[in-house]
């Protein structure tokens, strides 16, 4: 399965990475090379095999639903590119 320039543009949009036409053009053969190589997994018979989700057999731990953390607003905002009134500030979302 090969990717077209249009598909690569779509993937870049999904990944929210802005790309110039040149970059997209360069990426098409690079991605096709890698995707062509991983395609060999198609040779493996995986009928009846459960996908491996946990690497080491573990049960996901649960804990009581109580607040045990928090009240560190300033620490959380400390690395913000822009913070206002105790919030993260971003460009307008709604026009």
């Amino acid at each position: 399965m090969t990717v077209s320039p249009e598909q690569v543009r779509h993937i870049a949009k999904l990944a929210r990475i802005a790309m110039t036409d040149d970059e997209l053009e360069r990426l098409v053969p690079e991605l096709n090379n890698i995707l062509g190589w991983v395609e060999q997994l198609g040779e493996v018979d995986t009928d009846g095999v459960e996908p491996l989700a946990t690497v080491i057999d573990q049960k996901l731990r649960l804990r009581d639903d109580v607040v045990t953390d928090g009240n560190i607003r300033d620490k959380i905002l400390a690395n913000a590119p822009e913070a206002q009134h105790g919030f993260f500030a971003v460009p307008k979302v709604i026009e």
């Binding site: 991605l31 060999q40 491996l52 080491i56 400390a78 690395n79 590119p81």
Partner: protein, 490 residues
């Protein structure tokens, strides 16, 4: 006291406790060595004051008897670990200037054990790489050089700074992380020891995430004993990491023994690969002889899905990375590109400016294999093959106790020599299967190749059996007699 920088952690620990030298003397020797080795570009941040402050406290506490295990020992910390108040960049421009308001569990454990910090170590961007060439802060230059050559070599990656620092004696030990070989391959290239423990042994909390089902922290040092000492301090249950193993940390140092009588060492036939230099195969054969000498019985085993491990990894790891790196959006921390109109533009521009080529490539692959219409064909398929790879190991461990392979398919290569991404991925062909199966695995130096460069031997153990990996590593260490150090050109 420059001879302090040639001592192992065990020697420093014992010498400090016996009063032969002070912790301040140790810290000063290493701080000085760090400052004198900037041409290696191993450290992105130097923290000499931190090392001195912790050393002063250790000296003060020495009189009082009960010292924590790493009192007096300063370490280098891979820049993937969040260190409170100290720049943590993961080798990326997108986190330039980021100072975490919290400490990773692993480095907090080391701090509690009394270790000081010499600085943050350079690495491939977001741990994606096998040569430390993808760092936004410049490549690390290996302290090793080919005989008669000035060509700059890579230290391997992604823990390239860690490997270079330990090999050049500008840190007695360092933390690394290993997702698809990133501790073991640089350890092999640099002629040092490095171990990736069982998945879940070390907490991932505060470790900048690359691929969450694969990432593991581990130590890199100049001896097997040192790795055991560091791993004991680093490991342990952490309620903040949902995949953390709720098990006590074994006393790996006390359990060290190079007597392998009664142990079977598996030699997987699928790891004899065309195109791998004869010297590496020869070292592997030599390793088998060494382990026989230690009492082990070699057993030929088969890991039938070995050749599918790398492509499986290069679907799963980029997929997980595309999810983990979605958080770098310019909103809460890190780089933000200004002067754009909409929020969406800000995301796109920030990530375009902040991520390097290899990171973008992997995010793109990951996004593709998880996208609608392709998820089953790629990601689910890869998870199924991963299950088969893990089953291969389960079957193998019925017939053997530890597995021996080469660590890497070549010695260190030159900076800029490998331009094809796929060719770079092949560096991890021997290391990746153990990562996919979550098994403990270690590289120990076996010898030098014809050009004077280190080659490593690789040991894989069953789940939770770091002890046999360390013990087999010790058996090799004792017989390999590897004392080579890079000749100081920096």
């Amino acid at each position: 006291m420059s001879e302090l920088t040639s001592k192992t952690i065990a020697e420093l620990r014992d010498g400090f406790r016996a009063g032969e030298f002070t912790a301040i003397e140790i810290a000063e020797s290493y701080n000085s060595a760090v400052a004198g080795a900037r041409s290696l570009n191993a450290y992105t941040v130097e923290t000499p004051d931190h090392a001195l402050a912790v050393a002063a406290a250790a000296d003060k506490a020495r009189g009082n008897g009960d010292l924590p295990s790493l009192a007096g020992i300063p370490l280098g910390i891979k820049d993937l670990f969040a260190t409170e108040g100290v720049d943590t960049t993961a080798g990326s421009r997108i986190l330039k200037g980021f100072r975490p308001p919290y400490e990773s569990t692993v480095t907090a454990n080391l701090r509690r054990a009394g270790a000081g910090m010499l600085g943050k170590l350079n690495m491939d961007e977001f741990a994606m790489g096998s040569s430390n060439e993808t760092s936004a802060y410049g490549p690390v230059i290996s302290p090793w050089r080919r005989k008669g050559s000035n060509v700059g070599l890579t230290p391997g990656g992604s823990s390239g700074g860690s490997a270079a620092a330990v090999a050049a004696c500008i840190a007695p030990g360092a933390t690394g992380t290993d997702t698809g070989g990133s501790i073991r391959q640089p350890a092999a290239f640099a002629g040092i020891c490095g171990i990736k423990p069982t998945y879940g042994r070390c907490s991932r909390w505060g470790v900048v995430a690359f691929a969450s089902s694969l990432d593991q922290a581990g130590p890199m040092a100049r001896s097997v004993r040192d790795c055991a000492i560091l791993l004991e301090a680093m490991a342990g249950f952490d309620p903040k990491d949902s995949t953390s193993l709720e098990l006590p940390v074994p006393k790996w140092e006390a359990g060290l023994s190079s007597d392998l009588k009664g142990k079977r060492v598996g030699i997987p036939k699928e790891y004899r690969i065309d195109g791998v230099p004869a010297e590496i195969d020869a070292l592997w054969d030599q390793g088998i002889e060494w382990l026989k000498d230690a009492g082990a019985v070699p057993v030929e085993i088969s890991l039938p899905h070995t050749k599918y491990a790398l492509p499986t990894y290069y679907i799963i790891a980029p997929a997980e990375a595309s999810s983990n790196l979605a958080r770098y959006d310019g909103v809460r921390y890190g780089l933000r590109v200004e002067g754009v109109h909409t929020l969406d533009d800000m995301y796109g521009a920030t990530r375009a400016a902040g991520f390097g080529e290899e990171v973008k490539r992997r995010i793109m692959i990951g996004t593709y294999v998880l996208s609608a219409g392709f998820y089953d064909a790629y990601f689910t398929k890869a998870q199924k093959v991963r299950a088969l790879i893990k089953q291969d190991f389960r079957n193998a461990f019925e017939q053997c106790d530890v597995i021996l392979t080469p660590t890497a398919p070549s010695a260190a290569f030159g900076i800029g020599e490998t331009t094809d991404p796929l060719a770079m991925y092949l560096n991890d062909v021997f290391a990746v299967p153990a990562s996919l199966a979550g098994l403990p695995a270690m590289s120990v130096p076996g010898g030098l190749d014809g050009q004077g460069l280190p080659l490593g031997l690789h040991l894989i153990g069953n789940e939770l059996d770091e002890q046999i990996v360390l013990n087999a590593g010790l058996a090799i260490e004792e017989r390999a007699g590897f004392t080579a150090r890079p000749e100081k050109w920096w």
